[in-house]
Symmetry: C2
Subunit: 357 residues, 2 copies
């Protein structure tokens, strides 16, 4: 059993302690136990444990309630645990799996949850499992299904890495298969067949030449993307292939519904055999709403668009405006050289204290 987490101490030390408890998706039992135990030490919080999800909330009958959420799991370790640091003071950097995505955010959540005995707004702190894997295992998604009341709020903050700035909403994501069909034949007599892989050339040229759109939504600029993310074809080294499949990923701005995104792609791939395999709606940034504006004012700085899909879309689906706000560079999420600047951690902690304190 590791040393209990110290929520009242230095938040960067807390971050390192969190990294040092390995918690690859599916293996969150230990970190969840530790988070639960630490939070139960604060009587101003009602603590609920549900599977590997921990919910801690104040019940002060404030006019507003906000949700602040983060996931406890990471992608697989890459010889980057335990944590280490480089630099000092304002230049200090914390390295290790999860430092950026998103134990930096979790450390901020835990530190502020412990410090704020009487927040100005009621807060529901959520710590959940299995964010880095398939949707069907996602802890937040399960809670939204089984206990939507736990997520009731006027506003939500997801502490995913945003370089300690506010990133509004998120783009939607759709995956589809473009399937080419030919006729198999021995490659020594190729004219008796029809090569499905050769037909894929036209689809790839179309993708290579496609200019992704930039779309402004609620004042933020979203940059779309349309990419082949997989291709497979071929039977044997001496057979003309009768089949080739291209997997395409479309990242679409939150002005489009999934149905509109699909219609756009069907138009683009007219004449090809297209099958949608997966879709997740985006979330509008919602920064025009009053509760979001107050958060913006407390944090300061210019908000920007979130490009990657995040669980803010789950809140959007429940009618709760939500933003991403957390320490660390999102481009370093999942990288082997993942890291988080200590300054980001302090700055996020201070901003939440200003907003809620």
């Amino acid at each position: 059993m590791p040393t209990p987490l110290d929520l009242g101490g230095n938040v960067v030390d807390l971050l390192r302690a969190l990294i040092d408890i390995e918690s690859v998706s599916g293996d969150e039992q230990l970190i969840t136990d530790q988070v639960e135990r630490a939070l139960r030490g604060y009587p101003h919080l009602e603590v609920i444990r549900d599977g590997n999800v921990v919910i801690a909330r104040t019940n002060l009958s404030r006019a507003d309630r906000v949700v602040i959420a983060g996931h406890l799991d990471t992608v697989p370790i890459a010889a980057n645990v335990p944590s280490w640091v480089t630099g000092d003071g304002a230049e200090q950097i914390v390295w290790g799996r999860g430092s950026c995505d998103m134990k930096g955010g979790v450390a901020v959540q835990l530190s502020v949850a412990a410090a704020l005995v009487e927040p100005r707004r009621d807060v529901t702190w959520i710590f959940y499992d299995n964010e880095e894997v398939e949707e069907s295992r996602n802890g937040l998604s399960r809670i939204a299904r089984e206990h939507p009341d736990y997520l009731e709020a006027g506003f939500a903050v997801l502490c995913e890495p945003t370089n300690a700035g506010i990133e509004g909403g998120c783009q939607g994501t759709m995956r589809l298969m473009v399937e080419l069909t030919g006729v198999a034949a021995h490659s020594a007599r190729s004219w008796k067949g029809h090569n499905a892989i050769h037909d894929a050339g036209a689809v790839l040229q179309l993708l290579a030449q496609h200019q992704p759109t930039e779309v402004e939504v609620d004042g933020l600029l979203y940059r779309e993307g349309l990419n082949a993310v997989g291709i497979t074809g071929g039977i044997a080294g001496n057979v003309i292939p009768d089949r080739c499949e291209i997997e395409v990923n479309y990242r679409f701005a939150p002005d489009k519904s999934p149905a509109q995104a699909e219609a756009h792609l069907r138009h683009l791939f007219a004449g090809f055999d297209v099958r949608v395999t997966d879709v997740a709606a985006g979330a509008r940034p919602g920064l025009d709403q009053p509760v979001a504006a107050e958060f913006l004012a407390a944090v300061g700085g210019q908000p920007s668009a979130k490009f990657g899909w995040t669980d803010v879309a789950r809140f959007a689906a429940l009618g709760v405006p939500a933003v991403n706000f957390g320490p660390g560079d999102p481009n370093k999420a999942h990288a082997d050289d993942e890291f988080c600047p200590a300054a980001d951690v302090y700055s996020c902690r201070d901003a939440l204290l200003r907003w809620l304190g």
Copy 2:
């Protein structure tokens, strides 16, 4: 132990008996034993057993010696053993795995080997294993390496299916990988990466637009082919792929050496990263040589070019002119509905008897 093979009886019954002894590559022990035992019943033949290769030869000190060869193995069974027949008389068809490729040819060899006690030319009959699998296991290739004297001859006939006509020489075959390299990135921020699969589009368009050459060699017309036979790329559904590989198969006319074939492809794919993974030289038809001309006259009909690569190229490499000549439609080789017309079997047997009798 099955009934011994009857080489002196009806050649179509012999074909059916051969089909009924399963002999998928690597599992030729039983059929080799049967072939060896049956041949040892004929004192005019010297029989040599070497692994799962059987060599039977006359030693009559004739001015010429010819080799007549066939492989005993088949591709895997597809619910098509034991054999069955449809039709009668001239219309009879024998069905089953190996009927076409190439137990029809083996039946002709065995029947003629038994019947011709005093052939006009000395004959070396060869029955070998592992033709349908990788080169390193090929029984004929092993004999060529270990006992090239067994293959000494002025002319060779390989009884692969040719619709009972003469198919001269064979095309060469070369496989190469075209490798595209990009930069991985999260697909939500695709502009930070470079999509290797998109780059493959230009290669596939080049292949789709390529017009294969037709080349006349020693009076026969060879039709080349250049085809993608495999493609693979992609890391995950949310990652811009940094790698895509296209496997290309080039079937080249026997006027080109492997080096010339490679130079041609390197010119065609100039600017792309190309790696040759496999090559087998073709074989010129050699039908302008006297010994081939006599065979042509005995068989009759118009010779044509062989498109698929066959073991005639091994004889060509040893300086022995060689042709393909056997019962069955080469397009039915490896097909689940593989079959062989009885008329082809009789016609090939009669032609060999005319030539050698």
